[in-house]
């Protein structure tokens, strides 16, 4: 009785398999697997959460439009909580168990750096959403990234300062990873840009008041502008304190402040602040002729409709990563890893939401200073300069 059922079951299974092969044919012999680990929860969830949502909604959209090379995309996402320690086993699982074709992952620089040796050894294309330049500099064969680096931001700011005849700046920075890296770049690039740092102040994590530091900058001899390297709530607090102390010198912040909540929470203090921003963040302020206007508006519309929350530039990193990967797979005509790698490196003039990418075997980011637009806060909104 028992064995009879087994027999019947096996036969049926065989029949289904045969039928499957017959109808599917060469066209649907599987899916294209995209592996990811992101900081969906935890302290860096403001990065991982929009990244995950972006990947999910665009994978769905691409599949609804017929997939890539006639195959559906399949997304495997693990939550690394932003921890490099957790990212490592997830990367191994993606490569060995899930056998993914490409990895689009790593919300933070730390998690990205931790998995690079594994990815390099396995030989699988990896596009990271981590911020720091160290990810792709020096170039690692299989590793790419989509977000701008802080070096580009600082260069952009220095260019703007020079245009206004500013050469003596007071620097204030926070103590997070982004803040420190930005500060290092401000110091490193100063000499080349003809800038002198007349004050170099810092504040701690979670500090609630920076008037002491800003008073020092205010009284620094010859100071012509203040520059702030920081992120999150501190950006608004600095702007508030700046206003409270009645400073009138130009005030610069970085793309770390490029969110509407910076303006909203600064209580008028953000007025006049200049910063470099990704086109996505200021998409409404872009002129219709801007090359990224169309892509960025479409992404903003899609994200805000599906996720029900305001866009952040972080989700944009994931969008660009996914699209660059999909384009490369299409051009390669297969998911052969070496072919996809070669095609990613051939990405040329790809219009993403973060900028226009032109990669090469020696440039695994593909963005330059022009990918930032310089904006100023005016009447509580972004205004594009020039």
């Amino acid at each position: 009785m028992n064995s009879l059922f087994k027999q019947a079951g096996l036969t049926a299974l065989g029949a289904i398999m045969v039928a499957g092969f017959a109808t599917g044919g060469a066209q649907a012999e599987g899916t294209i697997k995209i592996g990811s680990f992101l900081a969906v929860t935890g302290g860096a969830s403001f990065l991982g959460d929009p990244e995950k949502k972006t990947l999910e909604m665009y994978v769905d959209k691409i599949n609804a439009d017929g997939g890539v090379l006639g195959k559906k995309l399949e997304l495997v996402v693990y939550d690394s909580g932003g921890s490099p320690k957790k990212a490592v086993p997830f990367a191994k699982r993606l490569i060995n168990d899930d056998k993914v074709d490409i990895i689009l992952a790593g919300s933070t620089t730390g998690a990205t750096m931790a998995v690079i040796p594994i990815v390099q050894k396995a030989g699988i294309p990896f596009i990271s959403f981590g911020g720091a330049g160290v990810i792709i500099n020096p170039v690692k064969k299989w590793v790419f990234k989509t977000p701008h680096t802080d070096t580009l931001a600082v260069q952009k700011i220095y260019t703007d300062m020079k245009g206004r005849g500013i050469s003596k700046i007071g620097l204030l920075s926070g103590s997070g990873g982004f803040d420190k890296s930005c500060r290092k770049n401000v110091q490193k690039l100063a000499a080349g840009a003809g800038m002198t740092l007349v004050a170099d102040e810092t504040h701690g994590k979670g500090d609630t008041d920076m008037t002491a530091q800003i008073t020092k900058i205010k009284n620094a001899p010859g100071v012509q502008a203040m520059m702030y390297c920081g992120f999150g709530a501190a950006t608004s607090i600095v702007a508030k304190n700046f206003k409270q102390l009645g400073l009138t010198i130009p005030h610069y912040q970085t793309h770390g402040s490029a969110s509407k909540s910076f303006i909203k929470n600064a209580g008028g203090g953000a007025e006049g602040v200049r910063l470099p921003a990704a086109a996505l963040v200021v998409v409404d302020a872009l002129p219709a002729t801007h090359p990224q206007k169309k892509v960025a508006s479409a992404y903003k519309k899609m994200y805000e409709a599906k996720a029900g929350s305001e866009i952040s530039s972080f989700g944009g990193h994931a969008y660009d990563g996914l699209m660059i990967a999909v384009e490369a797979i299409k051009r390669a005509g297969s998911t052969d890893k070496a072919a996809v790698l070669a095609e990613i490196e051939k990405t040329k003039n790809f219009v993403g939401v973060d900028g226009i990418y032109t990669m090469s075997p020696t440039d695994h980011l593909g963005l330059d200073e022009a990918s930032f637009v310089m904006v100023q806060v005016k009447d509580g909104d972004w205004k594009m300069l020039k």
Partner: protein
């Protein structure tokens, strides 16, 4: 020169007053149970975030503040009833670890219920800074200082003039004797959590217009408040106030005159130095232990 000093002082006193209020919360629970409640910072966060939430619902500010305080006090009772009381016979260290768990839970819950962004609460009476002697101070800072003074006086009267207050003080000195005198020490513990939550939420609401509020705001404020409480002598309300002001002012002065990089280091060095010479804190006195 003088304006600069005054500016640093304003900055230090404002921040210090908040540390003091958070420190007071630590002191009150420590008094009632010898537990260091590491969820104190979360009460600060809840006060601010709940105010933002209720204002977002369209409530007028006073109503939002009142409701936010009420919610936080209820959460304070909840932490005591659901987390601390069931384990009240456990060693103190276990209870302290439970409060750390409660703190992680509250922070996580707040992230799920609200969001992960930062929010501002409008200043109570405008954002126009007041200029005194060349230094500027925000009206909100005056609110913080004024409220701290009022709270300190009220607490003083409460602990010394009311039966309930005296019961808490008695329990802190000798729980067994207090129980024998007919004081319900379990109610005292419950009340002390409520009172700490009250103080924490007030601190959170007062600082929100200056520092903004987000689900992680309680971590650092809680830590600094704890330092204030230890510096002043754990369980001494006046000590927590003095401790908070010392930490706040020394931070601002270091940032202003030395280097902002050493700001936190100097504050912690003062704490180490004080504890080295006066292990019971500034207001700890020299208690002798009978063997």
């Amino acid at each position: 020169m003088f304006a600069e000093l005054l500016q640093f002082l304003f900055s230090g006193v404002t921040v210090g007053a908040i540390y003091a209020l958070v420190g007071l919360g630590f002191a009150i629970i420590y008094n009632a149970s010898h537990v260091i409640n590491f969820a104190q910072g979360e009460f600060v966060m809840l006060g601010g975030m709940a105010t933002v939430f209720f204002i977002g619902l369209g409530m007028p500010m006073p109503a939002a503040i009142f409701l936010a305080i009420t919610v936080t006090v209820i959460v304070g009772f909840g932490v005591e009833k659901l987390a601390v009381e069931p384990a009240r016979n456990a060693p103190i260290v276990t209870l302290i670890i439970i409060t750390i768990g409660a703190s992680i839970f509250l922070r996580g819950a707040a992230q799920v219920i609200w969001d992960r962004n930062f929010h501002s609460v409008p200043a109570f009476t405008g954002e126009q800074p007041i200029i005194i002697g060349g230094a500027s101070i925000l009206p909100q800072s005056l609110w913080i200082l004024g409220s701290t003074v009022v709270i300190v006086i009220t607490l003083h009267l409460f602990f010394n003039r009311t039966m309930t207050g005296k019961a808490i003080v008695a329990t802190s000195h000798n729980p067994l004797a207090a129980q024998l005198m007919g004081i319900n020490t379990r109610v005292v513990l419950l009340m002390s959590f409520g009172l700490s939550a009250l103080l924490g939420s007030i601190a959170g609401i007062l600082i929100a217009p200056i520092s903004l509020t987000y689900t992680g705001v309680g971590i650092m404020l809680g830590l600094k408040g704890f330092c204030a409480a230890v510096l002043g002598g754990l369980g001494k309300p006046m000590g927590a106030i003095a401790g908070g002001l010392i930490v706040g002012i020394s931070e601002a002065m270091t940032a202003g005159y030395l280097s902002s990089a050493y700001k936190d280091a100097v504050a912690f060095m003062i704490i180490l130095a004080v504890l080295f010479f006066m292990p019971k804190g500034l207001f700890g006195g020299r208690e002798t232990e009978r063997v």
